[in-house]
Symmetry: C2
Subunit: 424 residues, 2 copies
Amino acid sequence: MADDTDGTTSSSASRRRFLGGALGAVGVVAAGSAGFGVARASEPDASSTSKARPRVPFYAKHQAGIATPAQDRLAFAAFDVTAYDKQSVAVLMGEWAAAAAQMTKGLPIGSIETQPQNPPIDTGEALGLGASNLTVTVGFGPSLFDKRFGLASKKPAALADLPPLPGDQLRKELSGGDLCVQACADDPTVAFHVIRNFARIARGTAVMKWSQLGFGRTASTSIHQPTERNLLGFKDGTKNIKDQDVSDFDDYVWVGDETDQDWMKGGSYLVSRRIAMHIESWDTDYLADQENVIGRKKVSGAPLTGTHEFDAIDFAAKRKNGKPVIEQNAHIRLAAPQFNGGQKILRRGYSYTDGIDPDTGLLDAGLFFIAYQKNPHDQFVRIQRKLGQYDLLNEYIEHTGSALFAVPPGLSEPGDWWGKSILT
Amino acid sequence: MADDTDGTTSSSASRRRFLGGALGAVGVVAAGSAGFGVARASEPDASSTSKARPRVPFYAKHQAGIATPAQDRLAFAAFDVTAYDKQSVAVLMGEWAAAAAQMTKGLPIGSIETQPQNPPIDTGEALGLGASNLTVTVGFGPSLFDKRFGLASKKPAALADLPPLPGDQLRKELSGGDLCVQACADDPTVAFHVIRNFARIARGTAVMKWSQLGFGRTASTSIHQPTERNLLGFKDGTKNIKDQDVSDFDDYVWVGDETDQDWMKGGSYLVSRRIAMHIESWDTDYLADQENVIGRKKVSGAPLTGTHEFDAIDFAAKRKNGKPVIEQNAHIRLAAPQFNGGQKILRRGYSYTDGIDPDTGLLDAGLFFIAYQKNPHDQFVRIQRKLGQYDLLNEYIEHTGSALFAVPPGLSEPGDWWGKSILT
């Protein structure tokens, strides 16, 4: 490992080598006064040696994976820190950042072949698959700010635990976490490779609490993407914030001057909800009822008051019998900004299936919902309180997992890492 | 539904309508003397209305999904029949065949919008995604030939249950099944759509026993495909039977005159094995040891006696100390045809991950191995008996699921369905 040869290894890296050297994690820790965080890979650019696939820049004002047009596939994981000191978390963030910088270029985290008597620095399964638009987005859960690491004074008010919400059927083993990583890519192996290597690098410092693969994106975040369908068979995300809505990002997504914690400026808050769909029941429901539940037509995605997907919704329209065309508790009415104090969220969900539910014998499948916003309590919680109570869709869905993470702003340059200003 | 209007509905279809009409399954049952099995969709060709994605012909001498160049994604499911009569199985096969013919063209199974007061005939999530090279491959498990349906005399000798194999750690809930469907496509939603709709159509006749999503193919089956990597980070399938090996298909894959059951001529036998990988342990193993376990170099895939992936393997080569370069129990030596009486199998595996193993807290991930062969007892069992006992890789893997299915030959034309000659 080239990093081992310059003789200026920092004390953090030395400790890390002692704790985790057998894992090869030190290979991504740059030695020297700049601290940890920079891989010095000798591999050539992936685009010259393998399929050229597009890259998303890793160093930027905001973390990639939020405003980035939603990629096709998701691998998501939550971790709990098992170490007892803040410094270990800092080292981990440096190592993860260095690894992410490599992977988002389509490069292995470090050398695979240089030292036969050591474990490879990269697990190898993504070799040759290129960057595939990979983004790696990291966040901090409310529990990271408990007594363990002395971070209580750095906890943003917006990161207060989500309150219990109507209809919640949350399972602890699918909820929460000190840290999260959202890996999105157009190739599922490229996304999984991040989760697996982050878990490997974390060994001794953090353990994976839960993970979720998403096989199909459900919410386009760009006007250049067609709206994809969720497992209800309906287009999902027609009214989502799209990349051209620049002011919406400032108004609803990016944390600004309103924050009580400067380190979060330019960041966002991620809410994930594992929403199981009772698809077998849904599939026996009549088309007209399905469309009334959602408030849109199934095939076209048009509102029931219109003919094309992007037609404005006429919530006041009445049927001949005087009842509203879009029912009072239709999903799109309850979720609409005009009935939620103008609030919006940026959705970025994915369909999932995790085999057969052993309790019911039915397919365990649904939507892994992800939303970004500047304040989850003003935005997601406000909307979900209403949806959880009244949404006609509740007959067919169940929220089984929930998590909240503060997603700090983007990293500025090699050597930067997530939470540097609060962890050092 | 157009099928309801010609007034010649068969008694089978009527019964089916009575039993399952609310599910909309009848929409795919063609009425009339030809029996069930043909959808009469009025939708235009998908390629004219949505993204044009390539199709694999559904009606052919052999079922597609075996010799077809391996697609990127897999959805697989095993079903147990809950009905008590052969006729119900026959109806189900007819309905599945009609549905598969539609989906492999990139079309919905049936009309979604025609009858608002009925459930849609197709669940809708794959609308607009095209055919995506979808193949739907159906098989019959040994248990289908027990006393229930009077099929015992039709059971091929080659379909005898797999014997216990060395090292097996099989879980019943991930093994076996009366029926199977392998859906492969270049889009995961297109593949999942098959499993979900087959389960929907089967309601009242069969229930899903287990299912498995595979996110990345590991065994190329065409010389035009690069060899992909499994989650060990090694290229997998270098020596696989490839599409240009036409004589290998006749010698090893397609059932021929040797069969005791004529209905299986042109078919094949599918063995699936859910192989969990202890990837955390593997990731701490030294590169040199990983390469000795496999017998190949990690990055290039070359045998340890060569320099390029497709170099011939020199099993006799010795090191200076007199020991073989490729160890006696290296994976590629034990699996090589020359040490297994010349036997080969056609592999078609996919990487999977199913979240965190609640027992260990580690990633539940590995290889969903699929192999096709003309006789599983002469081929897979022979090879696995040796691998299960001696393979150096056994330290890092565990077979947790197993199933065997007789895969009948391809369907000849609309109106044909799987097992027609033994179920009528």
